[in-house]
Symmetry: C2
Subunit: 368 residues, 2 copies
């Protein structure tokens, strides 16, 4: 194997796959990336067997061949090289020789035949989505995915066909819920269990940076494949039961509060300084015209913030985990947010005013 | 106590003292800053009893008084306030009330009489130095100070009057040494043990950011005091014996190597990727015209870098800890560096070409 390739293109691809390879796996080959020089260019593969990435890079290939090398090692080397073109060659003893300007590396490799084969993918349906739409879905939902919850179905984001050419992504950890909708074109072949694992969401989100483009999303048996020019991402779906989230949505709105999003965000940041680390509880008292936000920390003091609100319904006092509200505010794209409550201990619906593409639910906390 | 003060000025002073107060001290009052409102303004004091800082801030004082409050708590509060003016007032129960725009904090305080008194300072000599000079001394020396070494005298930077209107700061951890000189005006009253502790160097360095100004340096009994407009820094000297560092300077130069500083820095960064974490050993082979830098890592591969050098004397092969050389290169302000060696296992002198204000010594490593 021997080829010449652009340093920056190689570096960008290596940066993208750092989130996929397992650095401390019991299977050392999973920390490697498979480098495959073909007449048409360089193919790079990375997988942890749950998520897989294939990138096609233009390269001047002098001799085809393949080898697997440690992905992090190669990334550190490539990002610091001095010259714009990198010369890669497989040397004796399964070593990848990297030459660039004054530098000559010999990195240990693993024969390509020891690299795990990627599973076959049989698309049952295929749709097209805008990259900006998919990026928004991930951003609005990922923070509500549970972390290593014993309720296995909470550890991923649930996909649901809304039937009107829109797909919904939903996640909940039992304390808060995110739901976001976006349009697609084509056919979704949804099975009842469409749970995208947290790690895949992270890898996907990284891939979606960059200019707007159309993505091809394929739905297979327990797996999803995403194709963009030169890159393919494949991930296995989680095998778990997502709860019936519609049952926790508030059934009626007795109190509707409208608040300037930036002012609320600034107030939450200031009261957040004094929250108790464990509960992160903040007390909200909404009256017509004025909201009062309070934190009382026995060791570090207390704080009261006032801010203007519009209230429909009776005055209400309610407690929230400040971080949950902050995470929601950070992904709402509207000047005002609306909170809808039926009572002080029932689920609270949060939406950007006039935004029909996403909603959030936060469970209040009992105030002492 | 009641006053109005500029939020940004208060925030900057609080930022500066975060490195002094002890956040996990067994004496809780040492995590506090003493706030003293006087007719002429606000005085803020912070100390860990080894280092002390006094800042004078303009303020509109309505009622004099004083209270000690947790310095980190107050800093987090002040940096997030919304409006340019802050209203401070001591309320009931030794609480500091902080009002600003929509925010009202009540922070627990400690009565001023429980705050430790600062030690008296009796200046035996006083000199004036430029802030840029003192900043350079600290930057060029601080990384060579030992960390918690059993040889107590290595845990600080040694000050020495050079007798020609110049003062030298020296530090060594036994593996490398830094020495930097700068001019002063006035009288230094040096005692044999002038060891500035590592923490004081850090606090001092932070204080020295900003525009050029003249600093008044006073030398007292086991302590140094630094005065700049509106700020006083006091620190206790370490009571330890600094070694006779001149004994380890190379006595003759049999090999002099001259290298472009930026090229050497880039090469060290690239070979540094593969150094063994424990030894960080790098092999240098200098011949006339060409230097070769090599690292061999049994797990992660090997790398060879070539770069142009000028050599006076015979070819030589020598090993160094790559980090020691990198730290020296980062504080040398010259286009070329010079390495002077008498033999491969003797101390190596490193200087910026044409720079007579600083020199460094690195002990080579035995190569396998």
């Amino acid at each position: 194997m021997e080829l010449y390739i652009d340093r920056n293109a190689l570096g960008r691809t290596l940066a993208g796959i750092q989130g996929i390879v397992e650095r401390r796996s019991t299977t050392p080959v999973l920390s490697h990336t498979l480098i495959h020089a073909r007449p048409q260019g360089l193919r790079m593969t990375a997988t942890d067997t749950e998520v897989a990435f294939i990138g096609e890079l233009p390269a001047n290939v002098e001799a085809p061949g393949e080898i697997a090398v440690d992905a992090n090692n190669l990334f550190q080397v490539v990002r610091n090289l001095s010259d714009p073109t990198v010369h890669l060659k497989v040397g004796s003893g399964s070593r990848l020789e990297v030459r660039c300007g004054p530098s000559h590396y010999r990195l240990p490799g693993i024969p390509a035949e020891d690299y795990p084969p990627l599973p076959a993918f049989d698309a049952k349906g295929s749709a097209t989505m805008k990259s900006s739409d998919l990026r928004r879905l991930v951003d609005q939902v990922v923070f509500s995915v549970a972390t290593d919850d014993a309720r296995y179905g909470l550890n991923g984001a649930h996909l649901e066909d809304q039937g009107d050419g829109r797909v919904r992504m939903v996640a909940t950890d039992g304390h808060r819920l995110s739901a976001a909708d976006a349009p697609y074109e084509g056919t979704l072949a949804m099975t009842p269990r469409m749970l995208v694992p947290r790690k895949a969401l992270g890898v996907l989100r990284k891939l979606l940076d960059g200019p707007e483009e159309d993505l091809e999303v394929g739905f297979g048996d327990g797996a999803i494949r995403l194709v963009r020019p030169g890159q393919t991402l494949w991930f296995r779906l989680l095998d778990g039961e997502f709860p019936d989230y519609k049952a926790v949505l508030p059934q009626e709105c007795k109190h509707r509060v409208r608040i300037d999003r930036n002012r609320l965000g600034a107030s939450l940041k200031r009261v957040g300084i004094l929250v108790q680390e464990r509960s992160r509880a903040v007390r909200f008292a909404f009256e017509d015209g004025e909201g009062t936000i309070q934190v009382h920390n026995v060791d570090r003091g207390e704080v009261t913030e006032k801010l203007p609100v519009e209230l429909e319904g009776d005055a209400i006092t309610v407690g929230f985990n400040v971080r949950y509200l902050q995470e929601i505010l950070s992904v709402i794209d509207a000047d005002h947010v609306e909170l809808e409550l039926s009572h002080a201990l029932g689920p609270c619906l949060v939406k950007g005013q006039g935004d029909e593409d996403a909603f959030f639910v936060v469970m209040p906390m009992r105030l002492d």
